[in-house]
């Protein structure tokens, strides 16, 4: 549910695409880099911009962390990154009661932690309570809040979670306080991983630098600012992965990383050269892979302060003024596609026929006049906030330039992540000072709820995610109702209606782009999965290296 646009977290040289790269295989034909891994050993090296903030599943709230955690840890269920179906993981089967309140999971036999202990239902109970506990300080505790009695447990009024039961060693029963359609999807998230108590109760918190899970790869070592090494776990319930080792290298500078990829020091890279860079494309063009993934980029308006508060015409004028087609098809081609609304393609509820706001200077001007600011006259100073990053700067500069053509002068505030979040989200009582802010959202599961609710529902008003402080009872009602239904068609219809309101009536954002990602893989890497949930969802256990395949 919550995810920052990774681009927002990356400093100086970030690119708009995703945070995390994956893939590649070991070996190097011509690389002067590093000792060549032993011939028979399968090593895969990919790049992260920076060290993951944490490898503790409960604390993880970003993609750098998840790319590692998702391969070291496993939850009850997992999300197939390609088909987006929910598959058994630690649980090999489950049943859901007809009233959608009780979930009964049967644990798989032979699931072992990396310390070779068998996983039992007690571990599930321990891990879920740990995620909920106040002392853990998890930013994603809310994932399990639908459980009956979760609130009492969090507040310390009860030592147990009423809706979390372990009738025997191999069975876990979860009872919700009310039906919650995406609950199973939430259990696939990295935060809901099953952890061994003996490791995670350590008061010295050694697990922070040496995580233990039951996933396909065992954590080996982490050298700050340099690399993280994972090795295949022989006892993995799904069978030992083909890769023997995985090296996650921390390289921040984009140009440097590209050179390293070409030199053979990386088997995969999450950033590609600019398409205009013919020299570079000649070298790696064949290794570029494109894929759409579920996310939407936008510029949020702060609806709680002037000049955007209560002035939809002004917001529409800004929307028409920004040339999204130029932005994504000429200026930064090959990545994203222009957005017509909120729900990205591939998600039930996406409406390709939604008119949106195609570039139209004349309309923009007339709406600007209608809004009370003919030719931009009378507008207060407006600042567009972005967090530092080259791609963010480029997009913001282009928006600035487009708005200038209809007479509107805005300034760009490029600030670090911490200051950015503070300025954009404000406090529960007070709106943030940013009038406009660029943001991106990647869906955590393939459901329109995963973008409409966190960003625009009044339940998440303020710092909880609805930074623009949008409040429309009609919209809220539609989103809430969709959540209690199970018929996908009916739900999609409701989401479509909600989107229509937020886009065409209220113009809550400048709708910029649907994400499409590009990534580089050496040809000898096989089994690559490019997930519409983002590249960080690459299941490393499916990769293999076939460098001599003829």
């Amino acid at each position: 549910m919550h995810r920052d646009d990774a681009t927002l977290r990356i400093r100086p040289l970030a690119a708009a695409l995703l945070a995390v790269a994956l893939a590649g295989a070991a070996v190097n034909a011509c690389a002067p880099t590093g000792p060549a891994p032993k011939k028979e050993e399968q090593v895969f090296r990919f790049r992260l911009h920076e060290d993951p903030p944490t490898l503790d599943p409960a604390l993880s709230n970003d993609q750098f962390s998840e790319v590692v955690i998702l391969n070291v840890n496993r939850g009850l269920v997992e999300l197939d990154p390609l088909t987006l179906e929910i598959h058994p993981a630690v649980a090999d089967s489950w049943t859901i009661s007809p009233d959608n309140l009780v979930y009964t999971f049967h644990l798989r036999d032979g699931v072992r932690f990396h310390n070779d202990r068998a996983v039992t239902s007690q571990d599930v109970a321990y891990s879920f309570k740990r995620l909920l506990k106040k002392e853990t300080g998890s930013p994603r505790r809310f994932l399990l809040e639908p459980l009956e009695g979760a609130r009492e447990f969090i507040d310390g009024k009860s030592a147990d979670v009423k809706g979390l039961l372990t009738p025997d060693d191999r069975t876990v029963v979860l009872r919700l306080s009310k039906p919650f359609a995406p609950f199973l999807s939430e259990l696939t998230m990295a935060n809901a991983a099953i952890l061994p108590r003996e490791v995670y109760d350590d008061p010295n918190k050694a697990y922070l630098r040496a995580p233990v899970g039951c996933g396909p790869f065992r954590f080996a070592r982490w050298e700050q600012a340099n690399f993280i090494e994972l090795v295949a776990f022989g006892g993995y319930y799904g069978g030992r992965p083909a890769l023997d080792r995985v090296i996650v290298r921390m390289i921040e500078n984009r140009a440097s990383a590209l050179q390293e990829y070409i030199a053979g020091g990386l088997d995969s890279l999450d950033e590609t050269p600019a398409e205009t860079d013919t020299a570079m494309m000649e070298k790696v063009g064949k290794e570029v892979r494109k894929y759409p993934f579920m996310g939407t980029g936008y510029v949020g308006f702060n609806l709680a302060i002037p000049p955007f508060a209560g002035n939809p015409d002004l917001r529409k004028a800004f929307n028409y003024a920004v040339d999204k087609k130029y932005l994504w098809e000429v200026l930064s081609p090959g990545g994203n596609t222009p957005a017509n609304g909120i729900i990205p393609p591939g998600i039930p509820g996406h409406d390709p026929d939604l008119p949106g706001y195609p570039h139209d200077e004349a309309k923009a001007r007339s709406l600007l006049a209608k809004a009370g600011y003919p030719g931009g006259k009378g507008l207060p100073p407006i600042a567009l906030w972005v967090n530092t990053g080259e791609e963010n700067r480029k997009i913001a500069s282009q928006i600035q330039s487009d708005l200038k053509t209809i007479g509107v002068d805005i300034t760009i505030r490029e600030v670090d992540w911490g200051a950015y979040i503070a300025g954009v989200s404000g406090t529960p009582e007070k709106p943030g000072q940013a009038q406009m802010f660029r943001f991106g959202w990647y869906l955590d599961y393939p459901d329109a709820d995963a973008i409409l609710r966190p960003l625009l529902s009044s339940a998440n008003w303020g710092p909880a995610g609805n930074f623009g402080r949008y409040k429309n009872p009609e919209f809220d009602a539609l989103v809430d109702r969709a959540l209690s239904l199970t018929d996908p068609k009916e739900r999609a219809l409701l989401y479509g209606k909600a989107e229509q309101i937020a886009v065409m009536d209220d113009a809550v954002w400048i709708f910029l782009n649907y994400y499409e990602s590009e990534t580089l893989y050496k040809p000898y890497v096989k089994g690559v999965v490019l997930s519409p949930l983002g590249e960080f969802r690459l299941p490393l256990e499916r990769l293999r290296i076939e460098r001599d395949a003829s």
Partner: protein, 312 residues
């Protein structure tokens, strides 16, 4: 000591005055609800009044406790311990390169004073001090690593090798070359110039002529004479350049993805990981002070009078 205390105070004050609620940063951006926030404030002592926070901070410093990273949730000291060796190795390599080549170039210039070679060295030296390190690093990388493939593009090496966790990380030597050469240019020019000037002032050319006339081995005499006359100014220049060396190291580590302290600090600033910023800045200030002390000691060791009396 007073320098360090003052530095600690300045760093603390400065970080304390930053806008933005640290508790929210620790919680990981926007997601935090009030419960989580207050739990965090308590755990990290952010709810106490400023003077208490300051004193706690100083007390911890006395015990070499530099605090705990907001983001990584582990001690800043351990982060420094992990990343400083890389920076240290890079800096040492750069200083050595700069000194050896600086002394060499300076001597060549002094002996060929007024000739083409002299001018050439002077121009090179000036270029070296005028070039932006980050840009030079990029150019060297693109030329020697990307175009010519003579050297590795970036990194520390070793990520392919299996080494015991406990051992100190050493880079592979070929990975060290480009970053070290890039960084050495910060002080190489200055060293060459000061060497040249000192040798000229000491009348090296005349001295050499005399020595040769007396039949002494020219090379040995020159080496001894040159070192005696140029070492002290060179040490001074190295000392004076130490701060820019650290600055250069940041850019160099950034360009070459060198897993050092500089890269770590830049990251920490970006993520607002304040304890890391505080701790690392303080640590580097301490290193800087120590280095200055070391240079003062070197003076005593290198002082020609002491040298003469010991050989006489």
């Amino acid at each position: 000591m007073p320098v360090l205390l003052a530095a600690a105070t300045v760093v603390w004050l400065f970080v304390f005055c930053l806008p933005g609620d640290p508790a929210r940063l620790i919680a990981g951006g926007q997601a935090a609800d009030p419960d989580v926030l207050s739990a965090i404030q308590k755990e990290w002592g952010l709810d106490r009044p400023a003077p208490v926070q300051y004193l706690t901070y100083l007390g911890k410093l006395l015990r070499f406790d530099l605090g705990t990273s907001y983001i990584q949730k582990r001690s800043v000291a351990s982060i420094i311990a992990e990343t400083f060796p890389a920076t240290f190795i890079l800096a040492i390599a750069a200083v050595l390169l700069a000194t050896v080549f600086g002394l060499g170039l300076g001597s060549i210039a002094a002996l060929n004073r007024g000739r083409l070679l002299d001018t050439l060295v002077l121009v090179l030296a000036l270029l070296g001090t005028s070039i932006p390190v980050f840009w030079l690093g990029l150019m060297l990388m693109l030329l020697f690593a990307s175009r010519l493939s003579w050297l590795p593009v970036l990194g520390y090496g070793m990520e392919g090798a299996v080494i015991p966790l406990t051992s100190i990380r050493l880079p592979e030597w070929d990975h060290l070359i480009l970053p070290a050469v890039t960084l050495s240019l910060v002080s190489m020019g200055a060293i060459a110039r000061i060497t040249r000037a000192s040798l000229i002032e000491a009348g090296t050319a005349d001295f050499l002529r005399t020595a040769r006339a007396k039949g002494a081995g020219a090379a040995r005499v020159f080496a001894r004479h040159a070192l005696q006359n140029a070492l002290i100014p060179v040490v001074t220049v190295v000392g004076l350049n130490f701060a820019s060396l650290l600055g250069g190291a940041v850019a160099t580590e950034y360009v070459f993805a060198w897993p050092g302290l500089g890269k770590t600090i830049v990251r920490a600033i970006g993520l607002r990981d304040l304890p890391v910023v505080e701790g690392c800045s303080l640590f580097l200030t301490a290193v800087f002070v120590l280095a200055s002390l070391g240079i003062d000691l070197l003076y005593v060791v290198l002082d020609p009078r002491i040298h003469y009396s010991s050989t006489a």
